[in-house]
Amino acid sequence: SQTIHQWPATLVQPVGSPLSLECTVEGTSNPNLYWYRQAAGRGLQLLFYSVGIGQISSEVPQNLSASRPQDRQFILSSKKLLLSDSGFYLCAWNLRGQAFFGQGTRLTVV
């Protein structure tokens, strides 16, 4: 069966520090991968998606970047975090339309 791993679960980082969130998928090959952000009490905002290794599409201009160095690995990064980057970050993969989500990373920038 397919599983998705996302870590860390929580993270507190100072303003201006770098960020690296990792997501890996097991049990499938060539998945479509996604990073979403969810601010407190709000809906899901799509940040990036990838349909293959090295292929990244950005949905909104921002302080973040994404990379897909391997088929089942998706990384969300920032060189310098802003306070506004705080939120709940979710990795997901898509199979025939249905998205499966990781458990999320709660990022607090202080």
Partner: protein, 111 residues
């Protein structure tokens, strides 16, 4: 439709009553729709889906209704239980590799 920047609407329901959660979608070309449930601090989980060639689909205690004419989707939960308290999102497959999520509705079940 997209919900970026919007606060989530809420629904308060008495335990044992039926709940109805509504969603309007924006893309008439979308042919696949999904409802997700998100509990506090967790990722969204699949509840039920429906293809555009159907107007109703039933699961265990849940029913999804699709009205393509007015681009409206609803989720009905029968005999709502405390464990049903969560945020519920609808999503549409816009056929461009992405799922577009609705605003989400916070459901609170009163004992």
């Amino acid at each position: 439709g997209e919900s970026v920047g919007l606060h989530l609407p809420t629904l308060s329901v008495q335990e044992g009553d039926n709940s109805i959660i509504n969603c309007a979608y924006s893309n008439s070309a979308s042919d696949y729709f999904i409802w997700y449930k998100q509990e506090s601090g967790k990722g969204p989980q699949f509840i039920i889906d429906i293809r555009s060639n159907m107007d109703k689909r039933q699961g265990q205690r849940v029913t999804v209704l699709l009205n393509k004419t007015v681009k409206h989707l609803s989720l009905q939960i029968a005999a709502t239980q405390p464990g049903d308290s969560a945020v519920y999102f609808c999503a549409e497959d816009t056929n461009d590799y992405k799922l577009s999520f609705g605003a989400g509705t916070t459901v609170t079940v009163r004992a």
